[in-house]
Symmetry: C2
Subunit: 358 residues, 2 copies
Amino acid sequence: MGNMLVEQQPLQALCTEILAKRLERSEAEIIADSLVFSDLYGVHSHGVTKLKASLDRLDNKLIENKTDLQIERDNNAVALLNANNGWGQVASVRAMDLCIEKSKTFNASIVGVKNSNHFGIGRYYTMKAAKEGMIGFAFTNASNYMVPFGAKTPSMGANALSISVPTKNDYIITLDMSTSNVARGKIAIAARDGKSIPEGWAITVDGKNTTDPEEAMRGYLLPLGAKGSGLAIMLDILSGVLTGSNFGANIPSQFEGNEPQNLGHLFVAMKIESFMDINKFYDRVEVKIDETISTEPLKGFDRVYMPGEQSYETYQKYSQQGIPLQKVVVEELITLAKSYEVDTIFIEELLSTIGGEI
Amino acid sequence: MGNMLVEQQPLQALCTEILAKRLERSEAEIIADSLVFSDLYGVHSHGVTKLKASLDRLDNKLIENKTDLQIERDNNAVALLNANNGWGQVASVRAMDLCIEKSKTFNASIVGVKNSNHFGIGRYYTMKAAKEGMIGFAFTNASNYMVPFGAKTPSMGANALSISVPTKNDYIITLDMSTSNVARGKIAIAARDGKSIPEGWAITVDGKNTTDPEEAMRGYLLPLGAKGSGLAIMLDILSGVLTGSNFGANIPSQFEGNEPQNLGHLFVAMKIESFMDINKFYDRVEVKIDETISTEPLKGFDRVYMPGEQSYETYQKYSQQGIPLQKVVVEELITLAKSYEVDTIFIEELLSTIGGEI
């Protein structure tokens, strides 16, 4: 089960071509970009490995092939969009674009999305706001896999939030976190690799602690303590209850469910210039970065990192050297491309640039 | 070291009178209300026990006796206020009031406060927004007591956030959390009571784990893992860097420092009616509450609670039966009242209603 080094451009082209067999090209491009973006940042759980599951949902008519986004409400600094069971990535890009536009006028704004699907990696949207000189927020709810604090059975997802803050450099300070101790994708990867997991990540269906990733995958995620649980409930209210989407225990599984997920998201953008001169802000941010990363590390740590700093380093490395993907992931993509009758030139192009097993 | 049952009204009256010896009565009333509110919700670490420390800061000319709040910027949905080293509670009440007013016009708004002081308990402000049919957020930074994840020395506070969501009933769903594993106030209480603390709450000045609350008080708070640390950094940027206040390692101690803290806060309010009919929202919130509290509990838990539900039960109980305060806290208050030459009728009134040691 080796890793292969895959170049960004042919990987993204292949994913785009696969998606474009079913979706309008403009939507296929957004989704492929978002998936490869996730892999570039080292978040493989939200990367191209997710493509097949989404297309399976499309084949099963659980998600539309066109994101027919409608503005349901639009009042000054707030708007509510209906994704009409289209693609979460497409709806979310447009929602954040609207949020940014609104914040250019009102300085701050909030845009909700209802009736959506998994939006992939949250920072894909919040970093868009940061590039416009704004602080961006993205909240989403998710499949019903996580127990509230003190519970034995789930009644919500590992609902997630992302916050991005621009700096004067290319690096964008980014928090991108679920409210579980770890993402379910990490347990899935441990299961695939036959590795045990630490206690505290998940409980079994009987409410027992487990270090077996297979049992954990059949069981439920544990929240990041009482605080993580409370935050997850709030994120469910903000992204699900408030937008008119499904929430909590009513969200069907992304993989096993047989009805639309009807997820909800909420985006916030605030214009930094409405608080202070942006260059003054950047100077202050540099002080914050410097004081944080120069904090004396504990034994066992090389140094202290800013949120999203390590994944940005990963992004720089993978952009140059290629993205390490499990061989099985690459093979699945190629099988998918063949079954979708993608022009073989895109497969050949990918294979010709693969750096071999590492 | 017994507890005494103290009635809300005479306790608040006494605190108001003490404060009114130095502050304008209107400001004294807000601060006393906020402190007693905290005790009513069982958050004694932010309650009347904090009064003396704040007045000591006033005596030492580290905080102004008048909150001369100025609007520095006001642009549509965003405003920035300068508290001019006045009282955090007074500045924050007015900031959230402005936020609510702005959201009546723009549906969402964000108000920052710079050059402020400790604002007490965050839900005091977010619950105000909830009572206006809005979802309220409050972010603040705090004294430099917490280490970032993987660090041995502090470079930020246990920065805190509160979110409140109204329901159709008196109970308001409220998350009110710091980003440390526990509030420093809890360690102080353990130290006072001579009890040990669990590992993971704090490290010593040498970066070692400790269960000794005295060592922990001399040492530093640990964040709620890497995620809590990342969130704390983001809250510092939002409330400190963005507002033009102090941030991170530059915030002096509230108790030992000899210069103004210059804390920052950020408030957000979003009008629920801009997303959906408020009664429909309330119905959906009831579903969320019901599904959460009826989730099957783990062994050792009586049931699952909503955020702020247990403290709301505490509030109901203490409002009726009185607030249990440590005898030493009551005695300190009375000493304070005498030294401030408060009319003895307020002391007598408090003492006459005290329910004795419990």
